[in-house]
């Protein structure tokens, strides 16, 4: 059998340690989520009841269907809340460890900033900044590689969407200066 058996090896120097302490347990998050969903169910249920959740001459009112759905959602989250509270006393399964949370934040915060920058400076500038910044700061990749990758990717996106497929993205002052 002819076969080249090269190994592909990729390391992950900033991998989260396995013994990192837990930040919060799954049970606690579950209780929190169920409370939020319950609040949502009550809010939406109230809004639908106000819109009209009963019957009139033409059939069910607009709020009828969603009103009963809010009740189902409320019931489900109430059950979930009780189940989570009961289970909470026994075992505490980890929702996220500190090392994992750090890594997740390392993606989430830049993504949040990216959305903010997109709103004011347009998507392409934000995209360039996100890719270059993320590669350099989080990935510790050489600056020129980061800048080049970011530029090439953003340029490809611009050509593909704005020019070839006519899908117009939000733009800011920078693109305006070039007449786009």
């Amino acid at each position: 059998m002819s076969q080249t058996d090269l190994e592909i090896v990729v390391d992950d120097p900033t991998a989260p340690e396995d013994d990192s302490p837990s930040v919060v347990s799954s049970g606690t998050v579950e209780i929190f989520v169920c409370l939020l969903l319950l609040a949502l169910a009550i809010t939406l249920g109230y809004d639908n009841w106000r819109t009209g959740a009963s019957w009139d001459a033409t059939g069910p009112e607009p709020g009828y269907f969603p009103f009963y759905l809010s009740i189902i959602l409320g019931g489900g989250s109430l059950y979930g809340l009780i189940a989570a509270l009961v289970a909470h006393r026994k075992a505490a399964e980890t929702f996220v460890t500190r090392a994992q949370a750090r890594r997740v934040m390392a993606v989430f915060v830049p993504t949040l900033l990216f959305c903010g920058v997109t709103q004011f400076l347009g998507l392409y500038i934000a995209s360039f900044l996100l890719i270059a910044g993320f590669m350099r700061l989080v990935g510790k990749i050489a600056l020129w590689k980061s800048l080049l990758t970011a530029f090439v990717f953003t340029a490809i996106m611009f050509v593909t969407f704005d020019i070839a497929f006519d899908v117009i993205m939000p733009k800011g002052p920078f693109e305006a200066a070039f007449g786009h």
């Binding site: 990729v10 059939g59 969603p66 993606v107 959305c115 993320f134 990717f153 969407f161 006519d166």
Partner: protein, 503 residues
């Protein structure tokens, strides 16, 4: 046969240079997406959907479905070479695929995986070709009560047959249905649940939610894990391929069994994940030598791959025939249909023959082309994994944002996507399934319309759902499935001897 003639017509629609090029592009993008960590079938399709907005529907669906086939093929590459299942349904493939790669039989394992995916899809496509037109012409007689009963059946079977905690499925589904109702009420024109916000007036777009739920949340989840990998690079020579194919007839029972399991679980919402495990376990149980499974047995690759792909493909059957998606990816394709201005449902087969048969023909063609493509390009795709995740992650984020924005040209949708990303991350970690949510969000409005129209027709009595034999039996079946765990328990207690009437 009529179906054959229409299928030939479908091929005629496809065989233009433009479509073939789009098909190749779709397949390459799909394999790419399947190989990359943190991306898979549904994410890939969702992210790349905006590319198709300006195309005509047939080209668009051909490209999208090819992305899907590509992603399915791509998932097998990482499972076998790196022991990293790209998707949950590739987990069973790693059991025997990775040991084979370790023994230096990676090429053989990959060939087996691709070939069996191809066979699985082929069986499912044959099923679609002949069954879908029949189901849809039957469904043309459906009125609103029948449609609502079918929707109810879909939702109930998710709750009753799903493996997750029941209340979590219920939460996920009712949340999806509720969010689908936000905005303008289609029947009365009233505003609902908008709380005075002009952004919510448009409602929550299904695709925006999907991009957030599957794209952004997947990036967050991937970052949590150790991203180091170590694997075998393999190229496939023609001789290996021919050797594996020569042995294929020996495994016909396994292949056929897995195809059937896959088709069945694909149409019902059991899904590809259950299908792949079931295929693997049954192959092991019926094997003369079950001990050798898990140590690099080629049947252990054939069985799960065939089942997973048969299931992934068969999930498109209810979508085409009834407008009800059988999987998350099918739900996204359905969302695509609506963007392109097509109305999913049984009328599709009557009103858009070109589209439907073009799609079915593209399933055949896409799988053949895909098989050849993966067999020849594995080394290139395997080396994609050398690209550091720190470069891939921000690019995926940008693609997600482009996708979310492009749907309605709304900045609000980018923020919404981010929100759904967080929701998806948290839900996945505490075990709230996302598939029912996706399904509910895409079907919500139509389920509600069907319900209200039947209520208006009947003057407000629920008896309309038992008004004739057809709708009555569907509704009853739905309720049986909803309480299936309870009924199953009861049946087990009486030892199957007594027939308990389940109502």
């Amino acid at each position: 046969m009529e179906a054959l003639g229409l299928l030939l017509h479908g091929f005629a629609v496809l065989l233009t240079w433009k479509t073939l090029v789009l098909m190749m592009v779709g397949l390459v993008l799909g394999i790419f997406v399947g190989v990359l960590p943190g991306l898979g079938g549904p994410n890939g399709v969702a992210i790349l959907l905006p590319l198709t907005f300006t195309m005509d529907p047939t080209s668009a669906i051909v490209m999208l479905s090819c992305i899907y086939w590509g992603a399915l093929f791509g998932g097998a590459i990482t499972s076998i070479l790196f022991n990293i299942p790209g998707e949950a349904w590739s987990v069973a493939t790693t059991f025997d695929g990775y040991p084979m790669a370790q023994q230096g039989r990676a090429a053989e394992a990959l060939t087996a995986a691709f070939t069996s995916s191809f066979i699985g899809s082929l069986v499912a496509v044959l099923l679609i070709t002949f069954l879908a037109p029949m189901i849809s012409s039957f469904a043309l007689k459906f009125g609103p009560p029948e449609f609502f009963a079918v929707y109810l059946l879909t939702f109930c079977s998710f709750v009753g047959l799903g493996r997750e905690a029941k209340h979590k499925t219920v939460i996920s589904m009712s949340l999806g249905l509720l969010l689908a109702g936000i905005g303008m009420d289609t029947v009365s024109g009233n505003l609902r649940m908008t709380f005075g916000s002009s952004e919510l007036l448009r409602g929550i777009n299904f695709l925006v939610a999907v991009i957030g739920l599957f794209g952004i949340s997947e990036i967050l989840l991937t970052m949590e894990e150790r991203l180091a990998l170590r694997g075998h690079a393999a190229s496939i020579s023609l001789r290996v391929v021919l050797n594996v194919w020569k042995d294929l007839p020996k495994y016909w029972v396994t292949l056929l069994r897995s195809s059937f399991i896959g088709c069945w679980l694909g149409i019902t919402p059991g899904g590809a994940i259950a299908a792949s495990f079931m295929g693997y376990n049954l192959a092991k149980r019926f094997s003369k030598d079950p001990e050798s499974f898990g140590k690099g047995r080629i049947e252990g690759v054939f069985a799960p791959e065939t089942a997973a792909h048969a299931s992934g493909t068969a999930a498109l059957l209810p979508m085409l025939a009834l407008g009800i998606p059988g999987s998350g990816t099918a739900a996204i394709l359905l969302g695509g249909l609506m963007v392109w201005g097509l109305n999913p449902g049984p009328l599709l087969f009557v009103e858009h023959k070109d589209f439907v048969w073009g799609l079915i023909a593209s399933m055949y063609l896409g799988n053949v082309v895909g098989l050849v493509l993966v067999l020849t390009t594995v080394p290139i795709f395997a080396s994609i994994l050398r690209v550091p995740f720190a470069a891939v992650a921000p690019m995926i984020v940008v693609s997600c944002a482009i996708g979310a924005y492009a749907i309605q040209n709304a900045m609000f949708d980018i923020w919404l996507m981010l929100g759904f990303g967080v929701v998806g991350y948290v839900f996945k970690k505490i075990g709230i399934p996302l598939a029912p949510f996706t399904l509910a969000l895409v079907l919500g409005n139509r389920a509600e319309d069907a319900f209200r129209l039947s209520m208006i027709g009947s003057g407000g009595t629920l008896k309309v759902f038992w008004s004739n034999g057809l709708v009555g039996s569907i509704t009853t079946l739905a309720i049986v499935l909803l309480f299936w765990p309870v009924i199953d328990g009861l049946l087990a207690r009486v030892g199957w001897t007594q027939r308990t009437r389940a109502t």
